[in-house]
Each structure stands twice: as C-alpha cells, then as structure tokens.
Amino acid sequence: MPDFILDVQGLETTFKTPEGVVHAVNGVSFGLAEGETLGVVGESGCGKSVTMLSVLGLIQSPPGKVTAGKAIFSGQDLIKMSREEIRHVRGAQISMIFQDPMTSLNPVLTIGRQLEEPLLLHIGMTKKQARERAAELLSMVGIPNAKDRLNDYPHQYSGGMRQRVMIAMALSCSPQILIADEPTTALDVTIQAQIMDLVKRLRDELGMAIIWITHDLGVVAGLAQRVLVMYGGLIIEEAPVRELYANPEHPYTIGLLGSLPRVDEKERTKLYSIEGQPPILYQKPNACPFAPRCKWVMEHCWNENPPLMDVGPDHRAACWADTKTGRHR
C-alpha cells in the first residue's frame, strides 16, 4: 500500500431534515497518494461533495453531522480538530474550489483583496508582499494585465475568469491537496477546456495532489489517474482510470458509461438507460442501494450491502454479482 497523504476511513455524515435523518455518506474509505489526481464520480445526491466537505470540516452543524470516521492528514485526524485548528489546514495545506464561480467570490471586495486574504492569514505576508504575490498568481492562471485587474470587482470578470481567480486563490498558499468540486460544470465547453488545460499545467508545475469531483465521466477520463464511483453515499467502484473505462465491473458504472453518447461515436445506437432514480436514504443502507435499479440483482443484494471486493489489479467493486458471468462472486 502506498503512503497516503490523506487517508479517510469509515466516514459517515447525516443531515437532519423535516422528513427525517438523511444518511448522505455511509462509510466511505479512500486514500490519496502524493501528487495523485483522484476523480470522484457520481450523480447529484450520491454524497461526493458531502464527503469532501466533511473532511474539511465544512459541514454546517446542525443540520449536518459527521457521525463516524477519521481523515488522517499529516498524522492528524481532521475530523477531531477544533474549528480553530482546521482553519489553519484549510486554505493553506488543503484548499478547495467550488462549482459556482459566480457565488463563491465576494461581490463587494476587489479581486486583489480576496486573493491577498489567504496570504495575509496563512503565510503572514506583509500587505506589499501579498499584493505582488497576488499579481503573480493572477498571471499564473492566465489573466492578462494581472496588476491592473487586481482592482476589479468580480462582476467585471467573466465566468471562466472567475473560475481562474478561484484557482489562483486556492493555490496561493501552495497546498498539498486541491479539492475541486465540479469546477467546470457551470462553464461552457470551450471555457471548460481552457480551465482543464490550466489545471493540468499547474499540477505538473506545482505537483499538488488533486481530488476532482464531477458527474461528468468525460472530464475525469482526461484528467484523473484513479477514479472512485459513488452511489447512495458509498464508494461502489474504485480503479485506475484506464481500467475503469475498459473494464467497468459494477452495474452502476456499466450503466453510467453506457448511457453516455460519445461525440466520436460512428453509428447511432440506442442509449443504455438505467431505469428508476437514485435513492434518498432515510436509514443507513442494509441492502445494496443500487439493487432496485440493477439488472444483475440477486437474493443476496436485498439482505446484505456488498463491501468493496477485489476484482482485478488495484480494482475494487462493491457488488455481489460478477457482471461478466451473472453469477454470485
């Protein structure tokens, strides 16, 4: 087993709602190696964002609560840290960028002011140093006339540029881990391509590890080295990127890949569709959460939730059925 810089074990998070307690994350364990890019794929409500927010102590409590698990980073458990302690990690050693660049910037502060903030807080730079560094960061993410544009307000930037600012801000303290939560979903495809290109370049230059959360299997294919697929608050498959796309093992992953049309498809074929819809879990699943939608479902699936099992080299899937033969594993 490689050395992980972030090691998450048995994470569970719940939310209190008027309808009952929703179990958003139900025992998630994964590791992140140094310099690795890990893709986390799943549909809305599968727990992918909540997992990462839990790790960073960003779950609002109440209604949310991390009820179990640990997240070891540099020998310390992030889950057990006080708010004050984790503030020194967040933004400095682990930073995060969010989906919507329109709402994650403060509209009444200049871009420069917002870029300087983490530098003043975490690194203790002087105002002048921070200003210079902010200009450097802005030109690093490809914004022309960086020095002048520091005085602009967020509304003067386009969506793509705002996402660049978010990236600059996240990288300002040279973090070891960058967590990106659907950072390109709100952007147009040509702008998405620009941002992905930028992230790849910065990753190679700075060598940080990346956790890239997305619902888009296409985005992950071109970026990640390893992929986790989530469903019903659980990791249901985990594999190196090429292995996952070549030999998906879990019925959900197979369905997801089959339901995607490809821009390079030659013949028009009927799309594979997964019937039904993702569950909302009002209790911790004691059966496989995918069973109601699964083609390979068998008796065992209703009685016991399958754990992640080895199905190939570095490849694990949580399914009782062997999808190749249709028989029980």
Binding site: E43, S44, S158, G160, M161, D188, V189, T190, I191, Q192, A193, Q194, M196, D197, H215, D216, L217, G218, V219, A221, G222, V241, R242, Y245, A246, G255, L256, L257, G258, S259, L260, P261, R262, V263, D264, E265, R268, K270, L271, Y272, S273, I274, E275, Q277, P278
Partner: protein, 334 residues
C-alpha cells in the same frame, strides 16, 4: 439564400434571415441606446420527420432562435414558414391555430410546471385552451398521454413537487404531445437532469418521434447528446450560424474553426481515445452580443483569423451539397 429553401420541397419549417434584436433602454426617458443582437440573420430549414440539432454555447442565441420560430418572441425581421404558412405575419386566431402544431419542451422541469396545478391539469390544459376536448374526454386523453411517456396514469392527481426531475420532464413531454403537434422545439430538455436520467428521456424522445412522426428542433449545448439524437446539425455562435451539415459530415470533417474547437473541447469518456486526440483550445471569452465584433463574429477567438475577417461578414454559403459554412477559409479544410 432563399435559393437554398426553394429547392427544398419537403421542408416542414423554413427560417429565412431571422433577426431578433432586444432593445436596451437607458436613462430617465428610457431612450433606446442599443440592442442585444441575440439572433442576427439565421437561415435554415427543418425537413419533415428529421431532428435538427442546434448547438452552441450559452448566450449564442440558440434558445432565442427556438422561441422566435414559435412566435413566442415576434422577430425584428426575417421570415418563418411552417407548412408554407408565414408565421411572422399571422395574428390572433390564425396564429393560435398554427400553435397547435408546434410545441415546446423546456429546459428546466422545475420551473416549467405550475406547482399549484395537478399533473392532469397541466397535461390537459392545452386541450382545454384549444377546446379540442371536454370533460371526460380530457381525462381519457391525459391518461393515455401519461402512458405514452411511461408514467403511471394513476399519478394524474398528483402535484409536480411529488416527482423527480426525470419524471417532471416526462410530464413536460406529455403536455407538448397533448395537441398532437408535428413539430416540437426541445430547448435543452435534458441538461438539468442527472446522467443516468438523461438517457431515459432521450430514448423516450426518439421513440415518440418514430411513433408520431415528429419533427424536432433539438437545442443543446451538450454536443455529444445533440449528435446522438440529430440527423443534421447547425452550429451557432454569437447570433449567427457558422456551420450546417449532416451529423457524420460535421464530425468527420468540420469546416468552420469554431466547430472544430467546439468538437475538440468535448470530453470523451474514454481515457485512451481522449489521450490520442488533437485539441484546439480557444483563447478568451465570447464577446457581448450587444457589441459584437465587426466582420466575422468569431474572429476575436479564431486561430486562423486574417485581415479580411474584420472587414466583412463571411457569407453562409453552400460549400458542397448540403454543407453550409460561414468562413472565408473553409476550403482550407476540405
């Protein structure tokens, strides 16, 4: 340009030089100071029974084009012929009659259904408004329509909030089908849905097309999904069409630099294929449609822009049969 349409008898819909400008008013006396040129001279036709994909990025005017065709906006100039009837000059009862034949499916299934109406009311409303059915007949038709879109007919008395996104979009589809239209504008019908649900809705749309001989204008920013469902493709940029051709031709030989960049920007869910392909990454952002660049609209981001591109607007010309492109240098890529 009308030559293109004249020799095309089986066209169900003909759009000729369609222009839709939204005025910008400023100041105390609300003087018009400019216009957002959302659609600025668009010409194409849609043949009976086909699906034409209209693709482009946000703000390119694709949704406005769809709405202007249905006369939800009255165009600034240009013409829209549906079954050889000019819609632009139709008014009142005549237009209402035509509207039965043309329907729309909206992007957001959460915003396009009235939360205070039951499914039966929503799907039955068009029947009532156009007085094609009454009382019990409406109920029967609604039941049947729900079955057609694979929803349980017993859900008719429920409210929209009781349904998931995919189910709501099915309700929207049932409503669009209520008047047995021949033409449906699908305005990004799947982009608000989860991936596994998208395929369900697209498969449904394809089945319905076969069953009822429907013609679709499929508006999308997701190129791979639009490519999957469309027979022909129109690519739009900043209010104008830049390329129009069949799906296979567009993919194998895109002639406009924007189409090329757009196609290469679409992620492919296959790491091996993705690593192999050539990428064109465009610089900069889309300019504002209130103040578009002179000449070719795309020149500010175009990798092959030359002097001539800023001086005059490239004609949308038929470079080979059925393949239209608006670029001075399209021959380069032939």
């Amino acid at each position: 340009m009308s030559a293109m349409n004249a020799n095309n008898k089986e066209a169900l819909l003909r759009v000729d030089d369609l222009v839709m400008h939204f005025p910008i008013y400023r100041g105390v006396i609300q003087r018009q100071v400019g216009a957002v040129r959302a659609v600025d001279g668009v010409t194409f036709d849609v043949k009976r029974g086909e699906t034409l994909g209209l693709v482009g990025e946000s703000g390119c005017g694709k949704s406005t084009t769809g709405r202007t065709i249905l006369q939800l906006y009255r165009p600034t100039s240009g013409s829209v012929h549906f079954e050889d009837v000019d819609l632009v000059h139709l008014k009142g009862e005549d237009l209402r009659k035509m509207r039965r034949k043309m329907q729309m499916i909206f992007q957001d299934p959460y915003a396009s259904l009235n939360p205070r109406m039951t499914v039966a009311d929503i799907v039955g409303e068009p029947l009532m408004v156009h007085s094609v059915a009454t009382g019990k007949e409406i109920q029967d038709r609604v039941q049947h329509l729900l079955e057609v879109v694979n929803l349980n007919p017993s859900f008719a008395s429920r409210y929209p909030h009781e349904f998931s996104g995919g189910q709501r979009q099915r309700i929207g589809v049932a409503r669009a089908l209520a008047l047995q239209p021949s033409f449906i504008v699908c305005d990004e019908p799947i982009s608000a849905l989860d991936v596994s649900i998208q395929a369900q809705v697209v498969n449904l749309l394809e089945e319905l097309q076969q069953q009822f001989n429907l013609t679709y204008l499929f508006i999308a920013h997701d190129l791979s999904m639009a490519k999957h469902i469309s027979v022909r493709f129109a690519v739009m940029y900043l209010g104008v069409l830049v390329e129009l051709t069949t799906r296979n031709e567009l993919y194998s030989k895109p002639l406009h630099p924007y189409t090329q960049a757009l196609l290469s920007a679409v992620p492919i869910p296959d790491p091996v294929a993705d690593a192999k392909r050539q990428r064109t990454i465009l610089k900069g952002d889309v300019p504002s449609p209130a103040n578009p660049p002179s000449g070719c609209r795309f020149r500010t981001r175009c990798p092959i822009a030359a002097e001539v591109c800023s001086q005059s607007r490239p004609e949308f010309r038929e470079i080979k049969p059925g393949h239209f492109v608006a670029c001075f240098f399209a021959e380069k890529f032939l």
